[in-house]
Symmetry: C2
């Protein structure tokens, strides 16, 4: 009982990937279903076998991005290390993830545009993604402070700034690809952790790891 076997899920992924490429190239607003179909090498009608609507494609892209974000946050969960190390790892992973999937990252601006007018439980709850990031970062900040590595009194606002620094670098890269996104992780940590004021730490300059620690799914 199975004529013409097709892996529905795999086909869906193929189409979604094609859609992400097209959205990244043209922007969601200028992307026709036909463009996506052509990119995937299938006919327009076939797209509707896997997706209910044009919006559903964007929604699926959000889902994919949301998963990646969750993965980054989960990888950070590993306890044992000092919280400060875990925070640095989180930032490096997040930046590496964004740099590793430039097309998906470029679609983010369309998700911002679409997610702006949706309430809390809406299809594109970008707010929830950032809340999750802020939550984890704020927690790590507090723990690191308890462990004596960070100054006390850090909390939500500081977490917002750290998360913001990542997203803001992303914005500049989106508008101007000559900005090297991946290369900004270390300066970002450097600025946020050590600050820009005259060096007063006795422990020398911050270690410059070779970067990259994200292992995508």
């Amino acid at each position: 009982m199975a004529p013409k076997r097709v892996d529905r899920a795999a086909r869906r992924e193929e189409i979604l990937s094609a859609a992400v490429r097209v959205f990244a190239r043209q922007g969601f607003a200028a992307s026709r279903i036909e463009d996506v179909a052509a990119e995937a090498g299938i006919a327009k009608g076939s797209v509707y076998l896997s997706f209910d609507s044009r919006e559903a494609l964007l929604s699926a892209a959000f889902e994919r991005l949301s998963e990646r974000s969750a993965t980054v946050l989960e990888q950070t969960a590993a306890d044992g290390e000092p919280a400060l190390e875990r925070l640095s790892g989180l930032v490096r992973s997040a930046v590496a993830m964004l740099a590793d999937e430039p097309d998906l990252t470029r679609v983010m601006v369309d998700l911002w545009a679409a997610g702006r007018h949706t309430g809390d439980g809406a299809p594109f709850d970008m707010a929830a993604v950032y809340r999750a990031y802020r939550g984890v970062v704020a927690d790590l900040l507090r723990r690191a402070a308890e462990e004596g590595d960070l100054r006390p009194g850090v909390g939500e606002p500081e977490a917002t700034v750290v998360v913001g620094a990542i997203e803001g670098c992303l914005v500049q890269w989106l508008m101007d690809p000559s900005v090297r996104l991946a290369g900004l992780a270390e300066p970002l940590l450097d600025v946020c952790l050590s600050g820009l004021r005259v060096s007063r730490q006795p422990s020398g300059p911050p270690d410059r790891r070779p970067s990259e620690s994200y292992q995508g799914p």
Copy 2:
């Protein structure tokens, strides 16, 4: 002979303001010319007396935002003060400007989406706006380092992070209005200047100015 005189420029401004309100509320993609006309209390056709096309409205919004940015950067030009003070002022002004004009700021996400696929001399050169910010910030960082207030070796990457921190806070506010944008200027400066690591500065906690120093046009 002089029938019904109308201040064309003023009318144009009225329509643009209406458009910005509509775009902020619905997003550019979901905004019809009729919506803008209705918001301005005029007929659809009349919009075309002041603007050539729907795109021209968005372009004008970009222009307005671009002017605001230029104003912020010019206000910073005043020499005499220490570069570090000027940098702090710049960040406070930029954040205050964004917070003072929430509608125009909300349109920014549409400008990001539209500006993404335009080359260097295109109608929405958002890249140029960020380049200008980075340039001024990088310059102030270097001067402040020369003046001995900042550690040496700061440059473009650090400027990108500082500008990014502003834009990233903006993104989080756009997605989640419960984030208090105006209140993030001080934490932002605090994090970027002093860093999060255990306090080593002998001069006590960073001064918390009452914020707000932007004087819009």
